[in-house]
């Protein structure tokens, strides 16, 4: 038994998990600072802090009340609301309300796991796919197109819809992959630009006849027929949105574990990512590895897009994966948080999904905008990406964890 001393030693030796947890703490601190600096109620309390003896205490109380309320609603909105849960346990009623937070977190985590694994695979190959969002958009558009325009029995239609999503994403991944392999265009520039192209392409499709909801002038698609939707896991009557997409996410995770740890392609990916010179010297076809990595990554990102539509909204409009809803961008941070490993990504996705979902609850309860969740996520990732900084702040002893080493190549390559 390690005992307290053992636990303390383990904490001080800075394992990746320790670093991630401490980064979470620091991220929440950053969020709190932002809340304090921008919330009028808190600022007003501090403005009067030196007018009377009791005022500083009052100001502190106002600060803690506001920040506390914000973080409490992130927790209750994404995991569990204890009083509500206790009410359900004792009376057996209101289970929908009790389980909705967890269900929402899982619902959001489904596409996030898939998209983050997509990004992680390119990171493992030493490539940076910032275009996962654009690829997910293409996947969503292709999926909705097949779902609404093709008529098939359900047993075929749902798989075909998901396949269409993959195909859409593969197209999106092929462009940066092939361009990099055959012209040397830097994938960072190409994928960044491609996100915008994909968004406009989606708008174009949503405003064109076959895809647009009839008799509409807005950019909104037809609704996917029931047979192509990923049904709620506990039935429509349960009121919980968590859906069979969870099976897809699980399958993708297993696939990624197999691909990266068991398959020869994955081995080539990792060797290329760790040391491209060694990879080339040992006879790995650099160009093929690069294209394959981008195709798989794009395909998974597309799958993430279609899984999100098929599992939740069942239609897309002009806000699909735009702005704060861009899971392809969150996926970059999740992948870094999970150190580009499938299992790490699953945990990272659950955490970040909880922050997103909780952020919406925070906005509903306290008015503080849910965009704060994005800021906290980015801060967490900055700390995870610079473990030495975390080590210094918390005075950890050794850094057993190696920093996230993802060598993205410079422009000339």
């Amino acid at each position: 038994m390690p005992g307290l001393r053992g636990l303390w030693d383990r904490y001080r030796s800075a394992s990746p998990v320790t670093i991630a947890l401490l980064a979470l703490v620091l991220g929440l601190v950053v969020g709190a600072v932002i809340i304090v600096a921008t919330t009028p109620a808190i600022l007003n309390a501090w403005r009067g802090a030196f007018h009377s003896w009791g005022a500083p205490g009052h100001a502190l109380k106002v600060t803690f009340d506001n920040v506390g309320a914000a973080y409490r609603s992130i927790f209750t909105g994404s995991i569990v609301d204890p009083p509500q849960f206790w009410h359900s346990v004792t009376t057996g009623k209101g289970w929908t309300a009790s389980l909705t937070p967890l269900s929402e977190t899982l619902t959001y985590a489904i596409p996030l796991v898939i998209a983050s694994i997509a990004v992680g695979i390119t990171f493992q190959t030493g490539l940076f796919n910032i275009g996962a969002n654009g690829q997910a958009i293409l996947g969503g558009v292709a999926g909705v197109a097949v779902a609404t325009l093709v008529h098939l029995p359900m047993a075929l239609h749902l798989p075909l819809t998901l396949l269409a999503g993959i195909a859409g994403g593969v197209v999106g991944g092929a462009i940066p992959g092939l361009l990099k392999a055959y012209t040397g265009a830097h994938e960072v520039i190409v994928t960044l630009m491609f996100n915008y192209v994909a968004s406009y392409f989606m708008l174009f499709c949503l405003l064109s006849t076959p895809l647009q909801l009839p008799d509409q002038t807005n950019a909104i698609s037809r609704t996917m027929p029931g047979g192509t939707q990923l049904a709620p896991l506990f039935g429509t009557a349960s009121g919980l949105r968590v859906n069979y997409g969870i099976v897809v996410a699980l399958a993708v995770t297993l696939f990624a574990i197999w691909l990266l740890d068991r398959s020869s392609i994955g081995f080539e990916f990792r060797v290329t990512g760790a040391n491209p010179h060694a990879a080339r010297a040992s006879g790995i076809n650099a160009r093929r590895t690069l294209v394959t990595s981008f195709l798989i990554s794009g395909g998974l990102a597309g799958l993430a897009g279609v899984t999100w539509v098929a599992g939740t909204t069942h239609y897309i409009d002009q806000n699909f994966l735009q702005g704060s809803a861009g899971i392809g961008f969150t996926a970059i941070t999740v992948s870094l948080l999970g150190r580009n490993r499938p299992i790490g990504i699953v945990w990272g996705s659950l955490l970040f999904a909880a922050l997103e979902v909780g952020g919406s609850n925070m906005q509903a309860n306290t008015g503080i905008p849910y965009d704060l969740a994005t800021v906290i996520q980015s801060a967490i990732v900055i700390f995870v990406a610079t473990p030495v900084l975390v080590k210094e702040i918390f005075r950890l002893r050794a850094l057993r964890a190696e920093s996230v080493k993802v060598a993205t190549a410079g422009w000339g390559s």
Binding site: G184, D371, I382, V406
Partner: protein, 430 residues
């Protein structure tokens, strides 16, 4: 790190890249001649006007309208494009090929404009306002140049600043808020400068002190500030709309020079930010290539170990340059606000990234960056401008154009440009 690319570059393609580019340009030219030029109907004509839209500082000397026969103009423009392609093919231009593609894009867009505005024709705007197009292009170009200069300052010292987009956003937000509160663009500029410098410092701190991957940290910084800007937008700007009143900066016309038709409104009836940009281009150019400071910066960007061995503080130089670069991009964000007005969360729409691509296209030189930004700026504005004519291309496709041309250009470039040797590589003394 260059292994992937060098294999790609060493393998010879069956059809050489230069030939492919040349033939592509020729095909576009032929399309201009035969697709649009010949057979546009009953001898239509296109009219050019030269009166600027904004004449609040007095109009330039009057130029009459110029009416051109549409068909022959298109044939002529098509011939120019074919000539560009032929030049690439005959002279086997390897280095200049992508410049020709850029010129082709501009000439082609002009041709589409001439074609779309023909009368009798479907267009409800019966003329092309040449001066207005140039004024609009100059505005976009100015923003891009600020971003490119920021990139040059950082990358010449060996740090990739992909956070320009975020610094634009930060400068825009802060500049807009300060100007709304004080009605003073000078204060706004100072604010944008400070926020940009702070963001530059953050990147420098993580990239130089903790040797993080610069591209990744840069992207995360952009994500963070995008979130922060949205947060601010709904938490501060929505309840206090008078902090986002969307005033645009008034022009400072240079007396006399602004009277010159076309040139005057484009270059001499501009906001202070435009003149500041011109000064900065000269300053950065001079400082980087004519001063000891510039020599040191470039040494740090090319070979930090060698620079350190002769006593140059590598970390210090990089810190200074990344902070300077951030400040320039921050001011660029304020300039963006000064011409665009109200802040919305995704207002910078990737211009920071396009500026970065322009910097690469311009080979990490201010003069090259100006040329590349002009190319991107003019073609972007022409594509946006086409919306007002009844062209049979949907708006969404036109809006893709700046991004597509950026992809196309960066695909044609690589292997032809050489970044600073230590660009993007963390430096540690051990």
């Amino acid at each position: 790190m260059t292994a992937l690319a060098s294999t790609a570059a060493r393998v010879r393609q069956p059809l050489g890249r230069t030939q492919a580019i040349g033939w592509f340009i020729v095909v576009v030219g032929l399309f201009t001649v035969f697709g649009m030029g010949v057979g546009t109907g009953t001898a239509p004509s296109s009219t050019l006007t030269f009166t600027p839209v904004d004449v609040s500082h007095g109009a330039p000397w009057h130029l009459g309208n110029l009416t051109l026969p549409t068909e022959w103009t298109l044939v002529l423009l098509g011939a120019v494009i074919v000539a560009l392609g032929a030049e690439v093919l005959v002279r086997r231009l390897a280095k200049g090929a992508m410049v020709r593609v850029g010129l082709m894009a501009i000439v082609f867009l002009v041709a589409v404009l001439v074609w779309a505005s023909r009368q009798p024709g479907p267009s409800q705007v019966p003329f092309i306002n040449v001066t207005a197009i140039l004024v609009g292009s100059a505005a976009i170009t100015m923003i891009l140049i600020y971003g490119s200069l920021s990139g040059i300052l950082c990358e010449r010292a060996g740090v990739v600043n992909i956070a320009i987009e975020g610094q634009f956003l930060g400068g825009y937000l802060v500049g807009e808020m300060i100007d709304s509160a004080t009605n003073n663009w000078l204060l706004a500029t100072v604010g944008g400068l400070v926020i940009g410098a702070l963001m530059g410092w953050l990147l420098a701190f993580l990239a130089i002190r903790y040797l993080s991957d610069q591209i990744i940290v840069g992207v995360v910084i952009v994500t963070m500030f995008t979130g922060l800007a949205s947060y601010f937008n709904s938490w501060v700007l929505t309840p206090y709309p008078n902090l986002n009143n969307g005033n645009i900066a008034s022009n400072l016309a240079i007396p006399g020079l602004m009277k010159i038709p076309i040139v005057g409104p484009t270059f001499f009836d501009e906001t202070g930010f435009f003149y500041l940009m011109l000064v900065l281009v000269g300053l950065v150019s001079f400082a980087l290539f004519r001063t000891r400071w510039g020599l040191r910066v470039r040494a740090v960007g090319e070979h930090p170990q060698a620079a350190a061995s002769v006593g140059i503080g590598v970390e210090r130089t990089r810190y200074v340059n990344v902070i300077l670069g951030g400040a320039v991009a921050g001011v660029g964000g304020v300039a963006f606000a000064a011409i665009q007005g109200q802040f919305t969360p995704s207002i910078t729409s990737g211009f920071g990234y396009i500026a970065l691509a322009a910097m690469i296209f311009g080979r990490w030189r201010p003069s090259g960056a100006v040329a590349a930004c002009t190319l991107f700026g003019v073609s972007a504005y022409l594509a946006y401008n086409l919306q007002s004519y009844q062209v049979p291309i949907s708006t969404e496709i036109l809006l893709m154009f700046p991004y597509l041309i950026t992809i196309a250009v960066s695909a044609g470039l690589v292997g032809r440009v050489r970044p600073p040797a230590a660009d993007g590589i963390p430096y540690s003394r051990e």
